[in-house]
């Protein structure tokens, strides 16, 4: 996987634009979902994703191949998401259509409501805590990977994750979600 990415990066750097398209195809869903979970807005998710890939393309020459490409990509994606969310200072509801389509995986309206309620509660968390929940639960990354992406020690990742979970529990309890 890593070798594949490196090959594609090298092909892109040597002027093969179709190679970069393969990178976009491979990672756009991952970046979009990260951005969407951070911003909770479909259009913002798309805008952030576009801006992430543009930045990746422009900075590809500075990518250090001794690191994993996806960690580098994630770091850019997290930063772009945080920048946009901080700039906007707002948290919008997901579009009705998306919420209906994507947040009722078991087709149970009640279960979908709980999932959406927890996701909404997530917006109440400070960005530093929200991002660890998103990376751990929605992106399924290890502590080590999160530490690399956020550039913080693994111990801090764990403590932030625990704090984020307890804070989220408190919000959900207050709202009667869990």
């Amino acid at each position: 996987m890593v070798d594949d990415d490196l090959t594609i990066v090298q092909q892109t750097l040597s002027g093969d634009s179709a190679a970069f398209e393969r990178l976009v195809e491979k990672y756009q869903r991952l970046v979009f979902n990260l951005a969407l979970n951070m911003s909770r807005n479909y259009d913002d998710g798309a805008d952030i994703t576009q801006s992430v890939f543009l930045k990746v393309y422009e900075k590809l020459g500075s990518f250090n191949p001794k690191y994993k490409f996806f960690s580098w990509l994630y770091r850019i994606a997290v930063n772009e998401s945080l920048n946009l969310v901080q700039k906007q200072g707002r948290t919008e509801e997901l579009d009705e259509e998306i919420a209906t389509d994507q947040h009722a995986p078991d087709s149970s309206a009640e279960s979908g409501d709980v999932t959406q309620g927890v996701q909404d509660a997530l917006l109440e968390l400070d960005l530093n805590y929200r991002v660890v929940i998103v990376l751990k639960h929605f992106q399924d990354l290890s502590y080590d990977e999160i530490s690399l992406i956020l550039d913080i020690p693994e111990k801090l990742v764990k403590s932030r994750l625990f704090t984020a979970r307890t804070m989220l529990r408190k919000i959900c309890t207050q709202r009667g979600i869990v």
């Binding site: 976009v24 422009e58 947040h103």
Partner: protein, 266 residues
């Protein structure tokens, strides 16, 4: 007995499916003995299940095309920029004289920088170019409380020249304000004693057609319309300083009066 930190660590790992069977049993045994810990464990477990149930959302179909379009635009912009730079470089390299121009320009920049750092810039000795000292004067009355000094009005109906002179001073600053309304060429000359006040600058409220001249002991302004002037002096002496203002037109002196800028500290 398990510490809070150990409990948090074990609980985190349990929620993330990283505990060994022994660690899981240790955690479960602990929560059986602690009601608060048990409640937290159960709530976080439920929360974790809900969070892990969130499914990925399909990005919009147009997203990839939009990204590639943005990338193409960025690449084209970079190409035009680099081709322009290449053209400039080639242009410069093909002309040896440009390299000498660079050396000259670099020398000039260094020279200006050194001059501005160590050069001496006289402001009141000899004749001063008004362009060097003109501008806006902002006087903060709160920071420098002023005492109103003497002043006078003048009105020459024959020549249709009128105006006023006002003065004010603080411990370190003296200000002379002059208003003038005229339709013929008129000169106001302000004489001052540089041993007690040092001229620091002037300002006029309208661009007008005024012509200023500043010398070691006098300030002269010539105009043919309406304007308002402020002259600022730094006080350097302990004695009151006399400033004489004269108004002249058509080679005739119409008015001359002195104002005494008060004693320091008063």
């Amino acid at each position: 007995m398990m510490t809070e930190e150990q409990f948090a660590e074990l609980l985190n790992r349990e929620l993330d499916g990283l505990n060994s069977r022994q660690e899981s049993e240790e955690l479960k045994a602990y929560v059986q003995t602690n009601a608060e810990a048990r409640e937290l464990y159960q709530d976080l477990l439920k929360l974790s299940i809900v969070l892990n149930r969130v499914e990925e959302v399909e990005p919009p179909g147009f997203l990839k095309a939009d990204i590639m379009e943005a990338v193409r635009a960025s690449r084209n912009a970079a190409r035009s920029e680099s081709s322009l730079l290449a053209w400039v470089r080639e242009f410069i390299e093909s002309r040896t004289s440009f390299q000498y121009a660079y050396v000259f320009a670099a020398g000039l920049i260094v020279g200006i920088a050194i001059y501005s750092l160590v050069g001496v810039h006289p402001t009141t000795s000899g004749v001063v170019d008004p362009a060097d000292v003109s501008g806006s004067i902002i006087i903060n009355d709160a920071a420098y409380p002023f005492t109103a000094g003497p002043g006078f009005e003048f009105n020459n109906e024959t020549e249709s020249i009128s105006g006023s002179v006002r003065s004010k001073y603080s411990r370190n600053i003296a200000v002379v304000e002059m208003s003038l309304r005229t339709r013929v060429e008129t000169a106001i000359v302000v004489h001052f004693d540089p041993s007690s006040v040092r001229f620091k600058g002037y300002s006029q409220s309208l661009p007008g057609t005024s012509v200023q001249q500043i010398e070691e002991k006098l300030f002269r302004v010539t105009t043919q319309d309406e304007n308002h002037y402020i002259l600022a002096f730094e006080r350097v002496s302990q004695v009151p300083s006399e400033v004489t203002v004269s108004i002249a037109s058509g080679g005739r002196e119409l008015q001359q009066k002195s104002v005494l800028l008060g004693e320091l500290g008063k």
